[in-house]
Subunit: 284 residues, 6 copies
């Protein structure tokens, strides 16, 4: 960990024995179009200066949550595999210490090693995937581990009926064909998020991965693969509120790319989503 | 007044004995996050070059309204108190001359002295507050007068039942607790703006203060404290149309910060809102 | 034609005897506020690198369409009239060779010569005009041919009952008065696009001109005359889907101005709309 | 003239019977690469807010000079010829009223009609041309009047031995061949500006045209055709100081394109050069 | 102190009993043209990620210096006087603890209280002022303490013959007249910095204040009052090397304004200057 | 090769049997600070639209050179090693076909495989390295092949006395210690480039690698690791002119990162350097 600057709105509660640990993963080595997500964690922390710690939607304040921002993971720049191992090692440590994980990316590839680590601790883990893209390629540019194939990897370790995909609006024909065969596949919007509660009970361990490019580029220009016809931050927020009361053991927020966010509105949105997710997850 | 460049779409009607005077207040001395609103008045005037003087929504043209753009107030950079006095003095002169005031900011702090001046002329003044933030701190950074406490100051001179707050979605826990005790408090959206007509009659003198950060950062990136989950310009416009026929004696449009508006869409939106408000207020 | 770089997602099908030809027209000589649309064709091609060739909305892939990107027309910078002649000549050639035309601008003025050429080949041509602005001035700055008067010119060669206008929300009083007298005039939104099918039968030759500034500046900041209160890309897309099954002989997509599109979201939106229109038109 | 906002640092002396009149010419109709110089005059005025009226280099203050900022010329968007006529008419009026002309562009094409007007009043006019480009094409894109051919036009009305060219570092082979035949041709730098005094006496009427792209793009990024290997503002300033004591009857400063000047340093440089030229010319 | 993120290149040596303490002062309350310097300290720290800790110019590495980055001072937003008191208090503590001060701004006003605190500890203090502007106004906008008058205040506590001013190229006529009466006044460049060694001996306590706008806007666009005709970073660096061997008890680096530094080159330059100054000062 | 758009100024001579082939290598997989150089080749081609094909410095025109722009190499995103193999394969083909190579990056890592391929064809190859950074790390982030260690790899295949390094001003202490032991090491400037002719005869095969970050960030902001105190484009150009008459068998121009080049001046500079190098190399 090479950064110690905490998220602004969490400062008062930065206790290292907190139940929830937030960590940054500044990795974008497989990004194919516009790199830059490695600057995501830092931008989310800076933008948190402009966001209150109190959520009027939830009526709760981050000051009342026990959590700790432990900085950024130091990632190497050589092979993807080495990076995935480094992420896995830290995530495994968190779950072994009975903490919940709140990871901020970085590109989407980081999700796979965290899910793997979580699965070892919670064999009954269910995964919720929110994204504009399928990320379901068998491989991409000759590589099995990449942002474009990460969910295919996840589905190699998670049973299809424990996987819920929401919001996809871009992919190859083959990717969509693959998705359609999944039991819980809800493309184009998050309107069906409230069906989650019907399919799983409140004790089931849940991992939530939020690729912020599910948002429309108007609301979230700062990402490497902006895809038109997305949803608003309000839509995403409304959907996340349906997670209240569920047993979230970890989540990640990925694909913020600050170089494409000149006015900082994407960083603000990401920081806001992190606050709400921390309050939802931490409310146990 | 040190600028004489008029709003473009008003040029033909720039008569100094107009009923409505528009003035800029380039002040951002207490802005806590991202300063820059001092460039707001100039940006609104420049953007007006790209906005027609005719409103197809209202079916009226600014050419038919009697009003005058009298330039920017020259503000000092020393203490907040001195600036508030300078604003008060000019506003008082306007109301004494029986003109209506159309002020463009600048940060939100400027509203308090205008309201004070209006109140002296219209003892029955009612205030409509449209904003993303409560602005209800008792003090901010040890200071009573700031953009974060301006509405608390207003509520020290206006009776609570004459105050209407719409759209707030960010603030401290204490700020929201304070707001909730007000008789006319409508957070998160402007959907309840049409209840205004039920609570006041058409002759009641009204002052409208519009903090443009009530808009979502997608529609209005150019502001110092962008807050996710806001409304669209269309939503704001629709709400403002409910003011038609009411006795608006003044309004302000604040918190446009051009350095964070690279494509100029925030300036266009602000200029558009000013046009519509001028047509609504001037239609008497 | 001085550019040979094809639209990325079309590369595999770039056969010069294709039924559909896509061409760029990098002209912005009459733009009155913020020039830059001459860079539009290049930006749409570059952004197409980030857009998949498969549309999950339509369930079809561009790979299955027979079309060809023939590059940019070389336009001169002298008089408008000469440029219009050059555009007319190329469009006439396309229609004579029984191809369908897919033109990417450039400013809106380019539509008139293409319509003229199409009309000679399809005497029964109907025109659909999607735009934020009326573009109905008799002349603009002393000039008959300009982006602000282009549709007035079109209405001099097309019968009013063969002209359908959608989405206008800005113009002069006179422009709106003129529009209102047209039989098929639907301002402010595209909700009435499905009435097209009621008015024309599936064999009628249709030309579609899409001024992208019909989109709200939040979704499309990269344009020279951003007009608040527009529609989302999703709204535009939904409306375009009503064109499925109609006999589209050509379309254009105009007014993308890359210098005002720092994050590239406007170029992405334009590229996406081009993909969908190619799939809709090519599905014959 | 449609703007009345004066240059900031000239405000106190804005008397309409001044000896020197400053006017903006927001025209960029023939710009071939990156348009935007039409926003130049406005940007120079805004940047003048950050420049002192006192020059420590010259030891003089603009307050002591009799001059007037008469705003921007309203130019039409149709043919180049019409625009040139409009510029000629205003310049002719200035010279007839025995004023000196200080024109701010706009693209370089504007120089020709001013020189024509000056020549009628001062038959012995000499012209100094400072530029990165030769601007010596016989025609450009089939057009005789353009930024790329303007100096060829000037040389059709001015005798070669009354023409001095400095700093050219870009052009066609034919352009350089043409330049080399001129008696006073000094490419690549302004080091030979002090030879001016050797060639003309102090009473000779001089017109100075300064294409700011003579500056290196590091110092002046805000221009449409940035050409590497230019000079610094200090180099340009030093060269202009050699004009002290000469009989300058007019000058222009052209090719500032604000859309490519994100930090505003080009506008500052242009504003600074205008101040120094006003002080040098006005010191009579 | 509300930030704990250290300067990257100093991390290994961050011991709180270091001889040199670096602190940020994010204050820009009196900035008259383009505010934003409050973001300076954070930007310098982020840019330090891209700068090596080893200086090939000096042949020394920051790892060998004993120093500590103690974060940013928390400044209030009310009156200038209160802020100056807060800065004075912290600086006084540093000097009392026998540490050397390395302050990063923020606007130039912050220099005065540090000099005051240093003077109490070192009665023989000499001050070196490097700047584009005189900063010698008696008052500015009715206020005694501001970035435009800060050096006038310093000269009220420091004897003129202990004050050395270098590089000024902008100011009022009165400001330059005042400067010229000073015994050690060297405008326009830093070429005379080597005369410092002739005037003071190596044991004399020196305070160096570096207003980075002494740099040309090409090299340092990210500042609120860019002034053409400045020097290069290389020129500034060369001048600072003449300070080697002198007894520097503190320095500050001020007026970096990140909102005007889109490519980050100003932050890099500031970070570089801080590294070199730390190595020069720390070499005792 | 997936791009067919040629460099603008080369269009007329795009013959595939040319002696010189230009190719883009859009790779930035090991970039440690600010990625983006993968967009370099495209930006250089676009900027070439604004650069003349004639060089007044050399008195020659690109039209007279036999060369061909064969587009961009398609690189995979998995391991560095695979990418280096792909580059090597294409370079080997070029040299086998007796062509000269003109490669545009991409990050600096691409140089190593080209040098390896050249060396096989020209056993007597000498290498000229122009750079701000030593790039001499034994490994970087645990990886042998990276932009920070590329020249160390080159020195494993090239004898030290056949290696010439110019301009380095940043690196670790160990990197500089390593450089100093080289026989031909000239840090901080390119002033010693003319010594090349003294050390090698005109027939010696030379490979030139130009890391554009040798330029000062003022002249070249668009790069991932901007380092202050660099040289101007004019300085670089002057140094390159000393290569006239030498036997250059290939060169590369690397580290242009367009996302940090808002005004496009870095792309223009890179395009200019490519033109001059093509003319110098092609003059055989």
């Amino acid at each position: 960990m090479n950064r110690s600057k905490p998220l602004h709105f969490l400062e008062s509660s930065s206790i290292s024995d907190s139940h929830v640990w937030l960590w940054g993963i500044p990795y974008d080595g497989t990004t194919s179009f516009k790199p830059g997500t490695r600057f995501g964690p830092n931008a989310i922390r800076t933008a948190s200066d402009g966001i209150e710690s109190y959520s009027p939607y939830l009526g709760r304040d981050l000051k009342d949550i026990s959590f700790y921002d432990c900085g950024d993971l130091e990632v190497s720049f050589s092979s993807v595999e080495k990076v995935l191992d480094e992420i896995y090692a830290f995530a495994a440590r968190l779950f072994n210490e009975k903490r919940r994980s709140s990871a901020i990316g970085g590109e989407h590839t980081i999700t796979f090693p965290i899910v793997r680590a979580a699965l070892e601790h919670y064999p009954d883990l269910h995964v919720v995937h929110i994204d504009a893209h399928c990320d379901m390629r068998e491989e991409y540019a000759g590589e099995r581990y990449s942002h474009a194939s990460v969910m295919r990897r996840v589905l190699e370790v998670i049973e299809p009926d424990r996987f819920f995909g929401f919001g996809m609006r871009s992919g190859t024909e083959e990717g969509f064909r693959f998705m359609k065969k999944l039991p819980h596949y809800y493309p184009f919007s998050l309107d069906k998020m409230d069906e989650l509660g019907d399919n799983i009970d409140s004790g089931t361990p849940l991992y939530i991965t939020i690729d912020l490019d599910v948002l429309d580029p108007a609301f979230f220009p700062g990402t490497g693969a902006p895809e038109p016809c997305g949803i608003s931050v309000k839509d995403l927020h409304r959907a996340l509120l349906t997670l209240e009361g569920l047993n979230i053991v970890g989540f990640d927020v990925v694909e913020l790319s600050p170089p494409y966010d000149s006015a900082g509105i994407s960083s603000s949105a990401a920081s806001f989503i992190v606050r709400e997710m921390l309050l939802i997850m931490g409310n146990l």
